[in-house]
């Protein structure tokens, strides 16, 4: 029992960067655009956030810079796929190559520099609750923000007119266009949002998770985030579930190892991936529902005929 609280804390840390990036990508995909460059946007958020905090010592500035860094990368992607009609899949992959390279160049002088990590915010009253207070109400601002964003995005997509339009654009750009909605503009904004969220996910890595900079430190988390959007069948609540499931099993297998379980570590490391597949298979059993939720125009180019 005494181990559960701390383990939960670690799971929250492991899930938060995935949650940010996956939520952002989900909104982008809801508008009908598939951006596989999450890893590249994340790592740019990670390095520029770290640079910003190093030079300004301001968390606010650092987070803003990370958002801008992710969004700037996303803007490049948006320009290529929306203005120049480049294929989305390879452009996203190229964006990842670009981000990994550029972040390494920017970060050359940041290797070996330490940062204390984001301050923890204890919520008044709540944080003094036994057990619950420690586990849920003593986190850095990004953890709270990531959870708030789940609700914000849920509300936006399902309860607001703007969200409805965004979904309409993702389901049928031609119909949305015919109804007079600015398809390209809406998609561009959705792409920017996805980039900003990926940037925050990266910032969480370099400012809170392991507050330092080393090259390629995102280590494939952008890819996991992409998979989680699919896992969630484009629903914010399920993104949350997916991120915590994946993070949870990652941490639990480490705990199992520390307890001295006699299974090869490689097999233990496979568990988060296998579990995600198994859960996906279970929740995909109702095919109709998922089809309805997947943006029908996802990945398809939009060529407005005048």
């Amino acid at each position: 029992m005494e181990m559960i609280g701390p383990a939960l804390l670690t799971i929250i840390t492991a899930a938060t960067p995935l949650l940010f990036a996956a939520l952002g990508e989900m909104v982008t995909e809801k508008s009908g655009v598939l951006n596989l460059g999450v890893e590249g946007m994340m790592i740019m958020g990670a390095i520029l956030g770290f640079v910003a905090v190093h030079f300004t010592d301001s968390v606010t500035v650092a987070l803003l810079v990370s958002i801008l860094a992710g969004s700037a990368m996303a803007a490049l992607f948006g320009l290529l796929v929306l203005k120049f009609h480049a294929s989305q899949v390879p452009t996203g992959l190229a964006l990842t190559i670009f981000g990994i390279g550029l972040s390494a160049l920017i970060g050359q002088s940041m290797v070996g520099i330490a940062y204390d990590g984001l301050p923890k915010l204890s919520l008044p009253v709540l944080s003094s609750l036994p057990f619950i207070g420690d586990v849920f109400f003593r986190h850095d601002i990004l953890v709270y923000l990531s959870l708030i964003m789940v609700f914000v995005i849920y509300y936006f997509l399902n309860k607001t007119r703007a969200g409805l339009i965004l979904r309409a654009v993702g389901d049928s750009h031609d119909a949305a266009h015919a109804m007079g909605y600015p398809v390209v503009k809406i998609r561009f904004l959705a792409i920017l949002f996805g980039g900003g969220m990926a940037g925050l996910g990266g910032a969480y890595l370099s400012l809170a998770y392991s507050p330092l900079w080393v090259e390629q430190m995102t280590a494939g988390r952008g890819w996991i985030a992409l998979a989680l959007v699919v896992f969630a069948s484009w629903r914010p609540g399920r993104v949350l579930l997916g991120a915590y499931l994946f993070g949870g099993i990652t941490i639990l297998q480490l705990h199992a190892q520390a307890l001295g379980i006699g299974v090869p570590s490689q097999v233990m490391s496979m568990l988060p991936y296998l579990a995600t597949i198994i859960v996906l298979v279970i929740i995909s059993s109702d095919p109709g529902k998922i089809r309805l939720n997947a943006p029908a125009s996802l990945g398809r180019p939009f060529h407005p005929s005048r």
Partner: protein, 353 residues
């Protein structure tokens, strides 16, 4: 006629210049990771910079070279572009290095952590396990919970040797202390390394040590108020209170010496396994938290290794099953150490066979 002579003079001068240029020593380095990893490849690159600085020779490097089909091409390219000495700094480069060396008998090769040599291929590695015996001693003395955490990368002999050396030293000063090993299956993923660190602390470990590259576990230790040991470089900047000491890779002296040997024409193919004595393994200064008596004990282990009176793998040593494998008064040979794939008594878990 005059013109012709002039041309041939210029040509001759050019040739002479070319010849002297090619006789100039150029040293190549092949790294498995990016030099910005702040770990293994970073430390090798420090060695490269030392060669440039101290000897003024030209160096080149290729970073992030995958162990696989690409390594042979990269090594060959270095060999064919006028490098006289090439350091290949990861185990997975062994066979490509040997292959290329056959085609370039005049180029000298130095392969890190491998076991295949040739007339123009030397091998070198560091006895990091000596450092592990020192930190094991400190951990044994300083743990209050009697549970010590070990973050490991892959179950290769190098890592297993480290776990064993650490455990033997720890048990010697504190038979009650236990070790918990967690494998992260990566050399290099700060996030995962810190996850492992947290998991170990949550399971009662109050001292961490790691055989992975990033300072992330030390940062976790610092923020959770436990102690830890650095890896590859002095990581005090990341954990000013938590770092008790660090095992530092120092390739500088070796790289400078070998380059000099090539320049002087005295280079020979050898197997170098350098340790504390050769300064290939160094210990960072003790952290403030290490009390004087523990420092004295750690120093005693260090001095014993330095003067040869102590060996981290001297008997009696029992294996996991409790069988005596090294008798009193004997030590494990280097050959047995190189391929070590069994745990000493007190380590839990199994090694893939």
């Amino acid at each position: 006629m005059f013109k012709k002579t002039l041309i041939s003079l210029i040509l001759a001068a050019g040739l002479a210049f070319g010849a002297s240029a090619s006789a100039e020593t150029k040293v190549g380095f092949v790294y498995v990771g990016p030099i910005g990893d702040h770990g293994w490849s970073y430390q090798h690159d420090q060695g490269r910079l030392a060669v440039e600085k101290e000897l003024g020779v030209k160096t080149s490097y290729v970073e992030n070279v995958p162990e696989g089909a690409d390594a042979e091409r990269v090594i060959r390219q270095l060999a064919s572009s006028g490098h006289n000495l090439i350091f290949t700094t990861s185990f997975g480069f062994m066979n490509p290095t040997v292959k290329v060396a056959k085609q370039f008998p005049n180029v000298k090769f130095e392969h890190a952590t491998g076991y295949k040599r040739a007339d123009n291929v030397a091998t070198y590695a560091a006895r990091f396990y000596e450092g592990r015996a020192i930190i094991g001693t400190i951990a044994g003395k300083m743990t209050k919970t009697n549970v010590v955490g070990y973050i490991a990368s892959f179950p290769i002999p190098e890592v297993i040797r480290g776990i064993n050396s650490f455990t033997l030293a720890m048990k010697k000063v504190n038979p009650e202390a236990k070790i918990k090993v967690v494998w992260v299956n990566t050399w290099f993923d700060p996030g995962k390394e810190s996850d492992a660190a947290k998991a170990l602390i949550d399971q009662g470990c109050d001292i961490l040590t790691q055989h992975t590259d990033s300072p992330a576990p030390l940062q976790v230790a610092e923020s959770r108020g436990v102690y830890a040991f650095g890896q590859a470089s002095d990581m005090k900047a990341f954990a000013p209170n938590a770092q008790l000491t660090s095992i530092v890779d120092n390739w500088n002296d070796y790289y400078v010496a070998q380059t000099k040997a090539v320049m002087d024409g005295t280079w020979k193919s050898m197997d170098t396994w350098g340790g504390l004595k050769d300064k290939m393994v160094e210990m960072a200064p003790y952290g403030d938290a290490v009390p004087a008596d523990v420092r004295a004990m750690a120093d005693a282990v260090k001095n014993g290794i330095l003067d040869g009176s102590f060996h981290p793998f001297q008997g009696p040593i029992k294996n996991q099953q409790g069988e005596l494998v090294v008798k009193e008064g004997e030590v494990l040979s280097d050959k047995e150490l190189v391929g070590m794939n069994w745990y000493v008594e007190g380590v839990e878990g199994s090694i893939p066979k």
